[in-house]
Amino acid sequence: MELLNLNIPSWSDLAYWRPEAILCGTFLAALLGDLIGRGRRPAISFVISVFGLITAGAYSVAAVLHGGAAHTIMGDLIIVDGMAAFFRLLFILAGLATVLFSWTAEEIMGRKRENKAEFFYLTVLMTAAMMVMAEARDLLMLFLSMEAVGLVSYVMAGYMRTSLRSTEASLKYVIFGAVSSGIMLYGLSLLYGMTGAMTFDGIRAGLLAGEVNGLSLLITVILILAGMSYKIAAVPFHFWCPDVYEGAPTPVAAIFSVGPKAAGFALMIRFFYTTLAAGADPSASAPLIELINWPLLMAVIAAVTMTYGNLVALRQLNVKRMLAYSSISHVGYLLMGFVLLTDAGLAAILFYLAVYTLMNLGAFFVVVALNNHIKSEELDDYAGIGFRAPWLGTMMVIFLASLTGVPPFAGFAGKFYVFTAVMDRQWFWLAILAALNSVVGLYYYFRVVKAMFLTRPAEGADTTPLKIHWLQYTVLAVLAVPTLVLGFWFGPLKVLADQAIGLLSTGM
């Protein structure tokens, strides 16, 4: 009987999967810690989570330093390669920063809040799930990993469950998520029907071998894009984004705005690059890309996404909502890197994502820190606050200027790289549109700066200096300093991103 010659995958592969395994263990340990503390000692979960994230981070750094040979883990459904290693660092940075910062965030740790410990271990689990998303190389794992991140996100969005807004946000998130997953699944099944393969490599081989009908492939790609657009909040699957960011506690919105987005991009890069472009001789044409006019499709999505996000952000008076729309517009900039599926474009996405993680987390964290004191995210309530907390204000200026894309901040380096990649293949209208969009961005980002520094507070308003917790200052400095330094010195990060894409494993 064939059961006798089972092909059992080697457990030793798991050595390359240490960071993820550690995070899964951390999740369970923090969960148990919470039970031991009878749900009244969030410090236990906090310490375990921080410790686990730092350990996983150390292993991830070590993995990058040891070079980027690709390893499949337990079968060949997921792979740890250069790109996965890059994203690992990104997710651990985002997860660790969020956990550390939230320890002093009233929205999570306030006296009346519930489920404090849950926030920490769910963030850890989300970090692990996002890492798996960046590693999937098979339709099954693609879907599973997306659903894993989605499930954790739904819970975190509805975290303040006594708040009507939070509940509404969570419900919206779930419904949109279910619909877009459904659409994507349909697309995935069409793809399987065409190729008979589940692995990305197999799909590519199947597409190249069989007679592919252009219309069918286009529809399939669009259906799959629907699911992924939902994850990265690209127009027209962005509707959940502002409501969820506004309804969820700000630290949750912070990690939502960077983590799942970056994970979505990782998945898109691996999936589309492998199935549609990999192995294509850069000088020759890529048959599959041309068949469905992929560049035009992506260029239009990118253009619409960035313009829409920007124009709506202009009207926002709530800083969290403004940042939500701004994150949509940044997705538009990021999608520019997808237009040609070239190595330079994809590396630009990685570069931009790293920079975006720093600056966007930073901006959200400043909102958290201010919320601790003024209990508001309305622009009007920010009047004169820059003088009450000068360092906090200065860092907010750094983050917002970087989001605008003004030199010498990291955001500029990111935009520069993306623009260069697009203009290298002569997509000028897209580059010009993106450049003009960043001017529009200036207006709404600097409305916050204006409120903080230029507007004088109303008569009789509180003008005492704000006391910001040292932990918050530390985390913000860890985000702000690279945001500044990467504006001057982005060579190393560029090399890292290029390597990650260069080491993107396409065939095993």
């Binding site: 605008t404 960043s438 560029k494």
Partner: protein, 507 residues
């Protein structure tokens, strides 16, 4: 310091800003002293630069060349030629004087001086960068400090003025960014064959790719760069940010804005657009002189209609920058004799320098009266000549310099520009000359309304100009007078480099 004089000039102010950031904000005098010292050292270095500069070559001097970001072929490449040295001198002088002129700032002193010094670093960087990327970074570094300096320390409509300034200039600079990337991707380094940001490689047409040699492409890139620079100059119709920014900005910031920042626009065209796209420069020569004439006349007419002294000076800047454009356009016309072209371009660059000094005096003068009377309405004064005789003589001196009185530096540069423009574009030059008449009209009319006539009793108690204010005005006054009598110290600096530029563009 001798070897890295440009780097020291550029980065000393920002080091000063870093030091200031760590001084407790109550120690205002210490902060101001540190700021003055951080601005004084570049001034000393500027003198050294002036002495050490070899006037006999058009090559770049004091060059510093290091790899900066290798993966993008970005270099730290600094150097100066006859075009940039006068601008460096102007920047060093005005920055130091502005720090002194800002002594009475009392609100958030720490932030003010730190931002001012960062601004100074940006200005030096723009005038000495020879790598396009480096140039762009310095160009943009100035925006943020400028936004805050106008927005926090400015007048009643400062919020509006600050964001308007920022939006306009950023809109211009993203176009420059795209043009820069287009160059980067289409110019090859003759040594390595890779892309490059090195301006010297970009100047060499042999390094341009085939695509970059298409006429339409060159014209489009030229226009992109031109709009980017034109907003800074500002060239009508991109000028509307300027009156707002000037009126709202504190005195010292107005001085820097008019004295140095406006020059960066014309400097950018001469440093980047002309040598990189000489054929497009020829193509654009006629529109350039027309725009110059429009600037001269429009600015002058607008100045005439103003009742706010600062706004009047602001519009006079628009008018005076028009002369620079006139000279720059005339230089590009092929077939004009070398002497005329030389007169035109030397006059234009000299006018950039002179406008920097003269307009600085005017803004400082307006600042003096504003500090005392707390308003700038031209019609609100009268007879100040009796009340403040010393101040009146200084301000009149500045105004006479502005209207181009012979014997003062403005006259020489304007005369040179007209001498150079007449052979090339006779009609335009003649029409533009009307600007001088209108200029005289608005200047004298203001002089009469503010300083002559019956004395306004409200201002009986106004004290005359004090020693610190004199200290800011006297050095500039001496320079204006000296260069009006003997302009060669500055003209000699730039002559060889500009002659070379003529050869590149129209030769």
């Amino acid at each position: 310091m001798g070897e890295h004089i440009l780097s020291w000039m550029t980065f000393f102010p920002v080091i000063g800003a870093a030091v200031i950031a760590f001084i407790p904000s109550e120690r205002k005098e210490i902060i101001k002293t540190v700021a003055a010292a951080a601005a004084a050292i570049p001034l000393v270095l500027a003198v050294q630069l002036y002495i050490g500069f070899d006037r006999g070559t058009s090559a770049f001097q004091f060059v510093e060349h290091y790899t900066w970001i290798k993966s993008f072929h970005i270099e730290y490449f600094m150097g100066v030629d006859g075009l940039s040295v006068p601008m460096m001198l102007l920047t060093a002088l005005l920055s130091f004087i502005c720090i002194i002129a800002s002594w009475r700032i009392d609100k958030a002193v720490k932030g003010y001086f730190a931002l001012f010094l960062i601004l100074e670093t940006g200005m030096f960087g723009v005038f000495s960068a020879l790598d396009f990327f480096l140039f762009y970074v310095f160009w943009e570094v100035m925006l943020l400090p400028m936004y805050f300096l106008i927005g926090i320390w400015g007048g009643p409509r400062r919020e509006y003025a600050a964001i308007k300034f920022f939006l306009y200039t950023l809109a211009g600079s993203v176009l420059m960014l795209l043009a820069m990337i287009a160059f980067y991707l289409n110019v090859s380094d003759p040594v390595t064959g890779g892309h490059t940001f090195n301006m010297l490689h970009m100047f060499n047409q042999a390094n341009h790719s085939e695509w970059l040699q298409l006429t339409n492409v060159r014209h489009l890139i030229w226009l992109g760069l031109f709009i980017g620079f034109a907003i800074k100059v500002p060239i009508v119709p991109f000028h509307t940010w300027l009156p707002d920014a000037h009126v709202e900005a504190p005195t010292a910031v107005s001085v820097i804005l008019a004295g140095v920042l406006l020059k960066m626009g014309t400097y950018g065209i001469l440093r980047i657009s002309y040598p990189m796209l000489p054929d497009a420069a020829q193509w654009f020569a006629y529109p350039m002189v027309i725009l110059g004439a429009i600037n001269i006349l429009y600015g002058a007419f607008c100045a005439m209609a103003q009742t706010d002294m600062k706004k009047l000076v602001a519009y006079s800047s628009v008018s005076h920058m028009g002369y620079v454009l006139l000279g720059m356009g005339a230089m590009c016309k092929v077939g004009v004799d070398l002497q005329s072209a030389q007169a035109a371009i030397n006059g234009a660059v000299f006018q950039m320098f002179n406008h920097g000094t003269i307009t600085a005096m005017m803004f400082l003068g307006v600042g003096v009266i504003y500090d005392r009377a707390h308003h700038r309405e031209i019609n609100g004064f009268g007879g100040l000549g009796m009340q403040m005789p010393v101040y009146t003589s200084f301000f009149s001196f500045a105004l006479f310099a502005a209207l181009g009185l012979p014997g003062l530096s403005g006259f020489i540069s304007e005369a040179m520009i007209f001498m150079g423009t007449f052979p090339a574009y006779r009609t335009v030059a003649m029409v533009s000359a009307l600007g001088i008449v209108i200029g005289a009209a608005y200047v004298l009319w203001m002089l009469q309304r503010v300083f002559l006539g019956p004395k306004n009793d409200k201002y009986d108690s106004l004290p005359d100009i004090n020693a610190r204010e004199m200290f800011t005005l006297v050095p500039i006054g001496i320079i204006v007078l000296l260069l009006g009598v003997y302009p060669m110290p500055v003209l000699n600096l730039m002559k060889v480099s500009l002659t070379n530029l003529i050869k590149v563009v129209a030769g």
